[in-house]
């Protein structure tokens, strides 16, 4: 007998079992409100880099992001936003998601303190309160990136390079000089700085809770195709593609939320179902017991009533009859 069909079936069963045990694929949520095309472009880059290992979901509605972000299989949230208005209703959910060991990538809209408050401190610690301008090279606005802290995940990038981008936001003192903010917890690493001002352009952040984020304080692009800093041009740049891919890779590898949930999703859902079923079954059996007792009581009351009424009527009519005939 040819053993190959049996082996194929066995292999298929094992593959399915392994897939179920390892949980669903991580989802990467890419959100953009004002420039949906930029969000879609970033998602395409990530899909090309990460392939079938992940599921990319592009969102343009902040409410959809707020709901979906809580799901256990979310591996990373990418906020392709240039303005704080695009994330103003998302501050609370993003802080909550991140505090639970989430992974997040934020562009300039997430980094301006005046617009997004604690999002720019607790999740993307750029503390941006001042705006700087990049250089213009060959008529094109660029930010000049110079490596600062070294991280293995970003080693495929050169130590110096230019990327399309008009403005950047940075933490400054009263005289607009760059300052280094003190953070309460976690490790904040400036991966790349602006060549001229030394302002942070890429910040990696890691907390003890197992959360990781990467903030892009530059990369300021616009949606108009005629603009020098049109987002389509940034998406074409191999260095940008490498940078965003490295950032998502690094953030996802270190964050704990997806890792914790993915292997236990089925178990946790089952446990909650069993808990509710047990409660309902207990309530049902208690209700049945109450009904049984009530039925016994009714039968007894009825029997007693029957005897009492019979007795009364018997006394009233049957026992009186002989006296009457006498």
């Amino acid at each position: 007998m040819d053993p190959r069909p049996c082996l194929c079936v066995l292999l298929l069963v094992l593959t399915v079992e392994v897939a179920l045990a390892s949980g669903p694929k991580p989802k990467i949520l890419v959100y953009s409100y004002d420039m949906p095309g930029f969000g879609r472009g970033v998602a395409e880059i990530l899909q090309g880099r990460l392939g079938e290992q992940v599921e990319l979901v592009v969102l343009e509605d902040p409410s959809e992001l707020s709901a979906l972000m809580s799901m256990p299989e979310v591996g990373c949230v990418v906020l392709a936003v240039m303005s704080g208005n695009e994330v103003k209703t998302l501050v609370d959910p993003l802080v909550a998601y991140f505090s639970q060991g989430g992974a997040a990538i934020g562009f300039q809209g997430c980094c301006v303190e005046q617009q997004v408050g604690r999002l720019s401190r607790d999740v993307f610690p750029a503390f941006g309160n001042a705006t700087g301008s990049g250089s213009v090279k060959d008529g094109v606005p660029v930010n000049e990136y110079v490596r600062d802290a070294s991280l293995e995940a970003f080693s495929d990038l050169p130590d110096q390079f230019d990327l399309l981008g008009q403005f950047f936001t940075y933490p400054a003192n009263a005289s607009k000089s760059v300052i280094e903010p003190q953070i309460a917890e976690g490790s904040r690493m400036v991966l790349f700085r602006d060549k001229k001002t030394n302002a942070p352009l890429v910040i990696g952040y890691e907390t003890a809770a197992g959360s990781r984020s990467v903030s892009f304080t530059g990369c300021f692009v616009r949606s108009q195709e005629t603009a020098k800093n049109y987002y389509g041009n940034l998406l074409q740049e191999p260095r940008f593609q490498a940078l965003i891919g490295d950032a998502v890779d690094w953030a996802m590898q270190g964050s704990t939320r997806h890792a914790q949930h993915s292997s236990t999703i089925g178990e946790m859902v089952r446990e909650e179902k069993e808990r509710l079923d047990a409660l309902r079954n207990h309530a049902l059996s208690a209700k049945n017991e109450r009904q049984r007792k009530k039925l016994i009581f009714l039968v007894l009351a009825w029997a007693l009533g029957l005897i009492a009424v019979f007795g009364l009527l018997y006394q009233a009519f049957l026992r009186r009859t002989p006296r009457a005939s006498r």
Binding site: S63, M71, G305
Partner: protein, 276 residues
């Protein structure tokens, strides 16, 4: 013998009928509801900076258990109105469309339904009529919060959108989305909260509000006739709750309270609060 004595037969039959009627009328005590609402008060209007405008924004709710309960759960939530985010900008429902016909055109709801189902979870769908300024709207309520709460717990749950409501009257559709909690951004806007259960009262004022439960109350082994009451006051400044745009006077908040007796929904109130 019976055949011989028609009087005895008549007495027996009469006794049977009288006894049965007596038992059915005297002892047929109707079963009380598992949970009954005693009070449900909510403001006529919600405005930011209400104190400066002399408007009180307080909510009051109380309920009583109709039997001994192994677990009683009260879930408070607030939903805010926004334009229905239909999948196609120019799609509008017809008068003949049912609420079920509208749902597939709302990607936010359809997406969550598919997401939760794909993970083997369940969500709650309820139908309820809601009266708004004397106009009855058919309502369909989707609640994903129980599933979402499994993973991150109650405090985190109150940060994410976890429920939707769709109200329809004729061809007009009103769409709401919201979260668990006594109010949106509870930590920032609830000034006072009082929770009484079976005689024990806890008050949260000022900084202590941050220690309060975030809209979900659970009680174990509750005797029959236990009373639970919740009172809270809200004061929101202009910066808080960005979802509520000042001046959107044609919109509403829906403050909802659900009570679960041993895991089963036993009480559901939805209070429409106009925005000022």
């Amino acid at each position: 013998m019976l055949r011989g004595d028609p009087k005895l037969v008549a007495i027996l039959v009469t006794s049977l009928i009288v006894s049965t009627l007596a038992v059915l009328t005297v002892f047929r005590i109707s079963q009380p509801d598992d949970l009954s609402c005693l009070t449900n008060d909510y403001p006529d209007l919600f405005v930011k900076e209400s104190a400066q405008k002399g408007i009180e924004t307080s909510f009051s709710f109380s309920a009583i258990s109709g039997r001994e309960l192994e677990e009683l759960e009260l879930r408070f939530s607030v939903l805010y109105e926004r334009s229905p985010p239909f999948d196609t900008a120019d799609w509008q429902p017809d008068e003949a469309d049912t609420l079920e016909d509208v749902v597939p055109h709302l990607p936010a709801v359809a997406m969550m339904k598919s997401e939760v189902s794909s993970l083997g979870g369940e969500f709650e769908v309820l139908r309820k009529e809601v009266d708004i300024n004397g106009t009855p709207y058919d309502g369909l309520f989707f609640d994903f919060s129980r599933f979402m709460g499994i993973f991150d717990g109650d405090p985190m749950l109150s940060r994410y959108i976890s429920m939707y409501a769709i109200l329809k009257k004729g061809s007009a559709v009103r769409f709401f989305e919201g979260r668990t909690g006594f109010f949106l951004a509870q930590d920032d806007v609830v000034e006072y909260l009082s929770i009484s259960a079976a005689g024990n009262k806890t008050e949260y004022v000022g900084e202590r509000v941050a220690e309060a439960p975030l809209g979900i109350l659970r009680y174990a082994d509750l005797p029959k006739d236990s009373k639970i009451s919740v009172i809270y006051e809200v004061l929101a400044d202009l910066e808080s709750i960005p979802e509520i745009v000042p001046g959107a006077k044609d919109r509403l908040l829906l403050q909802m309270t659900k009570g679960y007796a041993d895991g089963d929904l036993a009480l559901f109130v939805a209070n429409p609060v106009p925005l000022g």
